[in-house]
Assembly symmetry: C2
Homo-oligomer: 432 residues x 2
């Protein structure tokens, strides 16, 4: 093995700067761990002339990706440029040129992971992506190594910091969605265009990656049923609180026998559930294994240094593999052919909030409907809505098939007594 390993860095934004910082500051530790020096020799940037905070310590900046991808001195490429198409091309080219790749790019891995991991295997290269899900939490390693001997049946992840921040503030301070979103944008916890976060798309990419690894079954992004938090109201959260629930945007991947179900949606969790006390921008992944039972992994889901830590830990793994000459053995081809549950195989409890006419017979009409459709009810709360002639009715069902529950929602809309179905959320974690 060489005395100095040359690394090419694609991207010098927030995470890229963090990677430069960590590698520079941890030379002694890296050398102790892997037995050689590590140097970032070239960095791909979009503009050469730009004021930067980061010391690039002699690395050459370039705007031409081939300066890195075609450089035979470079053994490892770190992709932290983001985006999808260019990143995909660069990573493929790097792998074909027998360079190992570390990426922090969840979009890339959720959409093209299968192709890229295959290219890595074909070229005897490592492709690691720990930073792509819940940056500061070593969850991918825990799934593939620490819990490798168990059969994981459920994962629930708070994997988007923006939405967790928004829901935390709304819950704790009784404030509305728009107001809190605006504040989050001002504080840098939400993007100017928050769509990808608040509509659950970002979380969907992460749960697709988790599902694929945890269930050893290739989960596509299209397999994830997605809904976001933009229609959650302060009233919803207040009723959750009264019933002892905390709302979180949760990526759920669960399986029964050989069939899986993957979704992202706002979920009510009992206050005592470990995920319920994960606040603000923090992430956590709850993993249930048949043998191990309940585990949870908690930490920062984003940020310059947490993400860079995951990237550099992957780099250390690549370097250790280089020392032992065993790169390209880590990617495990999924053991199972994907089978997804249909909606009549997905069972959950639901929280439902309805405005109905406040008159005799309303309650009976509702309960009759649920009973006809064979969904039994666990909790019912009815309150008069002042000066409106309406009643607020909150229902928590027992477990029901998703198809049956959707049927109830359709029928409710037709009931003369029901004025409006205000909101409806899945309830999880009650069976603990």
């Amino acid at each position: 093995m060489k005395d100095v390993i040359s690394v090419g860095l694609l991207g010098l934004g927030t995470v890229g700067s963090g990677v430069v910082h960590l590698i520079d500051n941890h030379q002694d530790k890296l050398k102790h761990q892997v037995g050689c020096n590590v140097k970032i020799t070239k960095i791909l940037v979009s503009q050469l002339e730009k004021k930067r905070d980061v010391q690039t310590n002699g690395s050459r900046l370039t705007i031409n990706p081939d300066d890195i991808l075609e450089d035979s001195e470079i053994d490892v490429v770190i992709e932290v440029m983001g985006g999808i198409e260019s990143a995909r091309e660069h990573v493929l080219k790097a792998l074909r040129n027998h360079k190992h790749v570390v990426t922090a790019n969840k979009d890339l891995m959720a959409l093209h992971g299968k192709e890229l991991l295959q290219a890595a295997a074909e070229n005897g290269c490592d492709l690691f992506y720990e930073a792509s899900v819940a940056a500061g939490i070593p969850i991918l390693r825990s799934l593939t190594e620490g819990l490798s001997s168990d059969r994981i049946t459920k994962m629930m992840g708070i994997v988007n910091g923006t939405t967790n921040y928004i829901l935390t503030k709304m819950s704790q301070e009784g404030r509305g969605y728009d107001e809190v979103l605006k504040e989050a944008q001002e504080l840098g916890f939400a993007e100017a265009d928050p769509t990808s976060d608040v509509e659950g798309l970002d979380a969907a990419r992460k749960i697709a990656i988790l599902g694929t690894l945890g269930f050893s079954m290739h989960i596509d992004l299209d397999d994830v049923s997605v809904s976001g938090i933009s229609s959650v109201t302060a009233e919803d959260l207040e009723y959750c609180r009264q019933l002892g629930y905390t709302m979180k945007l949760v990526g759920i991947a669960s399986r029964t026998e050989d069939k899986a179900e993957v979704s992202v949606e706002p979920v009510l969790l009992p206050d005592a559930h470990p995920l319920a006390s994960v606040h603000n921008e923090f992430n956590a992944i709850y993993v249930y294994g048949e043998a191990v039972g309940e585990t949870m992994f908690y930490g920062p889901g984003a940020g310059k240094l947490p993400t860079a830590t995951a990237v550099v830990s992957d780099l250390v793994e690549v370097l250790k593999n280089m020392r032992l000459d065993v790169n390209g053995n880590s990617a495990v081809i999924p053991q199972f052919v994907k089978k997804l549950k249909t909606e009549d195989e997905v069972f959950a409890k639901y929280f439902l909030r309805i405005h109905a006419k406040d008159k005799p017979g309303t309650f009976a009409a509702l309960t009759t409907l649920f009973s006809e459709l064979e969904i039994s009810l666990e909790k019912i709360l009815q309150l008069p809505l002042k000066n409106s002639g309406l009643a607020e009715i909150i229902i928590v069902t027992h477990k029901a098939a998703k198809s049956d529950y959707k049927n109830v929602l359709r029928q409710l809309d037709l009931l003369e007594e029901v004025v409006d179905v205000k909101s409806s959320y899945r309830v999880e974690g009650d069976e603990r």
Copy 2:
């Protein structure tokens, strides 16, 4: 690599039975992961003729350890017999006979880890022990791999399920230590002789292992300052609650620059700290890294199948290494020479509960003492103790050197106004 790997099992108690169960039930998964079949061929037991729940599926039972340790067909030895001296001898012999070893034995690793890891390295063997700390939580791997590029500065672990169960019940139900201990013993959460758990010795072994790995510095069991929970009272917990703290028995390993401090003691944590909501028999390890910030790993700390999961995951790692022919490379020799903080270099906040004479001047005498010894106070609460002429005084200090604080405790005993120092606990996590 052979088609079938033969494993010898030392011990067929609870964990051993779990290991047999997992290996039998996960043959397909194991074969998919490591490309060969795995079979437990021999099992060391103390009595051949004994009724057992577990199917040993054709494995030969033996009472002679050499039937396993000297069997050239056996490649891997799993030590789940417990105890220290025999386990040490068997593991050493296995390693010298070039067998890889997986152990769940924290006592063994805390006391003899250095010697055993060295023997493993000398013989080109793997020695893995993930199950020895917080069984169901893959924390050792997370420290050595997932967070490998970071500089960990603090670990706080709830690593003993018995004491966490007792403190949880005492806190939630306002009950006394003796009563809850008795109940825990009846429910199987505490041993008939609970000393090792309640006096913190079990936790001390685990934090020594965590400190060694997290700080890359050999921490001996003797380096751990230990106190347990047997003198904690319901009153202490009630005052904690009033001040917004939750008490946990915490193994603390922290370092500043190149010096470390390791202890096990009852610690007050703010209710919002992630460790504060780890209840009952669950374990969790909070890790603070300079780059990653706060992370926490939560799960079951003991139990047949959680422990067996960790053991079999280690076995999978051994088998993968065998396939790649790279065993014996995992143990990293500590990077640093151990330096421990002296008591004047250990800084913490403290909670102190005193019974003092309820008369003018008492309060002034106390505050003068603290101010003379240059310890400033963050919170003070004084309440009359009915019909006693005494006052209950609760003090929470700002950060102080441990040596200064111990000096205060000595001086308090001499103060004419102070009748009794009822209790004193370290406070952590307030600076979050």
